[in-house]
């Protein structure tokens, strides 16, 4: 019976990983940019939320009202000032610049917040439980986070496939030169894409902060989970990314039940297994 509970935990954890992945997948889809600092930006939003909650003494979920816009603005500025300059045929510049950003962010956070692990306290919400049949109980908070994750991914899908902005983002992703012929300012649109990505990242960061302890050094592993969720779920489609996140979450929780040391390793091994099975391997959709 507790196997069902473990599976449920895995699914709910998968929602968080899908959120990690959605931001990364959007950026890669629109401009072929793999942001090595993606994990550290998740951490940054957690720390910003920490500052906001302690300073204004408000609930972490309310802090989202401030953290999300802040991170979106940071995303737009980062893209226009730094990343736009690195886009082009050669994959090295964006990779190395984002690598430098990752090291910078980790150490800046270390300098400000020290290395001790922190936690965003959600108060009584953390203890609420929902009783399900067969005596399984489900934490209200993880369930809420999963619902929000699904809503965010649904929202991104709607934005991409139902709005003029989404149309423009897909057009720029298909053919940057012809997009300009439509009157699209590519540089601005890339900025908007990074702003959206960091908005999603900030939700993921706050949930991460509520769900578990965090410290400045755990960014890179979050990047790897995001990457694995994208690959397992199949490129390009955000619902696939959700499925990828869930599979990764379940693999990790199952592995964790066998032996706590196997949790992350199990996720990696499932990722590698799925990868070697896929015939064509993984080629980023190059135009």
């Amino acid at each position: 019976m507790d196997l069902a509970a473990t599976l449920l935990d895995g699914v709910l954890l998968g929602g968080l990983y899908a959120l990690f992945a959605a931001g990364l997948s959007l950026i890669f889809g629109v401009m072929r940019l793999v942001n090595i600092a993606h994990g550290d930006l998740i951490l940054l939003s957690a720390f910003v939320a920490l500052t906001v909650t302690t300073y204004f003494r408000i609930h972490p979920l309310f802090s989202l009202l401030l953290v999300v816009p802040l991170m979106a603005i940071l995303g737009y500025a980062l893209q226009r000032a730094v990343f736009n300059r690195t886009l082009g045929e050669d994959i090295l510049p964006p990779l190395l610049v984002s690598f430098g950003l990752s090291v910078f962010l980790q150490n800046a956070l270390l300098q400000i917040f020290r290395a001790d692990s922190q936690r965003l306290h959600a108060g009584p919400l953390e203890t609420w439980h929902i009783d399900l049949p067969f005596g399984i109980t489900m934490g209200a908070l993880p369930f809420l986070m999963f619902i929000v994750a699904v809503l965010v991914i649904g929202g991104l899908q709607l934005l991409l496939y139902r709005t003029a902005l989404g149309r423009a983002l897909r057009a720029v992703s298909d053919d940057g030169e012809i997009a300009q012929l439509m009157g699209i300012n590519n540089a601005h649109l890339y900025g908007v894409a990074m702003a959206i990505s960091l908005a999603v990242v900030s939700v993921a960061g706050v949930f991460l902060g509520i769900r578990a302890n965090f410290d400045p050094s755990i960014g890179p592993t979050r990047l790897i989970f995001a990457f694995e969720a994208i690959i397992i779920g199949g490129l390009g489609d955000l619902w696939g990314t959700l499925a990828g996140g869930v599979i990764l979450g379940v693999a990790q929780t199952l592995g964790g039940r066998i032996n706590p040391g196997y949790q992350i390793l199990a996720g990696h091994l499932v990722f590698l297994a799925i990868l070697t099975v896929r015939p064509q391997g993984f080629f980023p959709r190059t135009r």
Partner: protein, 234 residues
């Protein structure tokens, strides 16, 4: 005195590090249709791309609608009312036919052209509006690309080899629609390899060879040999 919609003087353009145009003087009046002919590599497409700012150029002036547009980024020039139907059509693969048309109106310029107007001119696009752009035949893709450019309600429409790789009857159908389009005084520059087809539609003709204008005039005034000599340079 008819209004000069677009004028270039001493236009030089580069394709990568290769100079493709060597000082083009060109002008077109509002409502006119001009054909630009010339063999492959003569610089026709580069000329259109330099007007919309997609290639590196140097020029004494490129003025459009009384304003200098030289050196402006492409999206600013498009906003002022120039639209280009690119060579090879290049519809957006992940967008449906209707989405490809709607994104043509991204710059939201007012005018007679909207989805309904395009569908009346090209009814087949209405049937196939939910299909992805790539699922259309060559001719239908060309119509969609033309419709996409019209959706921006341009003052000046640039067409780059719209008859390329199309069957003769399809070319005729497209050119008939083009005449209906230019009826309500849209100004058109037509780059065309199919010399015969171009002559039937154009008020004036420019012939390019190796990045220079080698012949210019009204189709009626220019003889067939004159054109062939300018075209092949032999």
């Amino acid at each position: 005195m008819p209004v000069k919609l677009l004028e270039t003087r001493g236009l030089i353009a580069f394709y990568g590090d290769f100079q493709a145009l060597f000082g083009i003087d060109f002008q077109i009046e509002s409502g006119e249709t001009i054909a630009v002919i010339g063999s492959n590599g003569a610089g026709k497409s580069t000329f259109l791309k330099s007007l919309v700012g997609l290639v590196r150029t140097k020029a004494e002036t490129i003025s459009f609608d009384g304003q200098a547009i030289w050196g402006k980024p492409a999206y600013r020039i498009i906003d002022q009312g120039i639209s280009l139907v690119p060579e090879g059509r290049r519809l957006f693969p992940s967008l449906t036919v209707e989405e490809n048309l709607s994104i043509g109106a991204y710059s939201r310029r007012k005018g007679p052209w909207d989805l309904e107007a395009v569908y009346t001119v090209f009814p087949v696009l209405k049937e196939k509006r939910t299909l992805p752009g790539t699922a259309l035949s060559g001719g239908q893709q060309q119509m969609a690309a033309l419709g996409r450019a019209l959706m921006a309600n341009p003052k000046l429409l640039l067409c780059d080899e719209i008859s390329l790789g199309l069957a003769p009857i399809v070319i005729r159908e497209i050119y008939e629609q083009l005449e209906r389009i230019t009826a309500n005084e849209t100004t058109v520059i037509l780059v065309e390899q199919d010399v015969k087809q171009a002559m039937t539609v154009a008020d004036r003709v420019y012939c390019f060879r190796e990045g220079r204008v080698v012949l210019e005039g009204r189709p009626t005034e220019l003889g067939r040999e004159q054109i062939t000599k300018a075209y092949f340079g032999v």
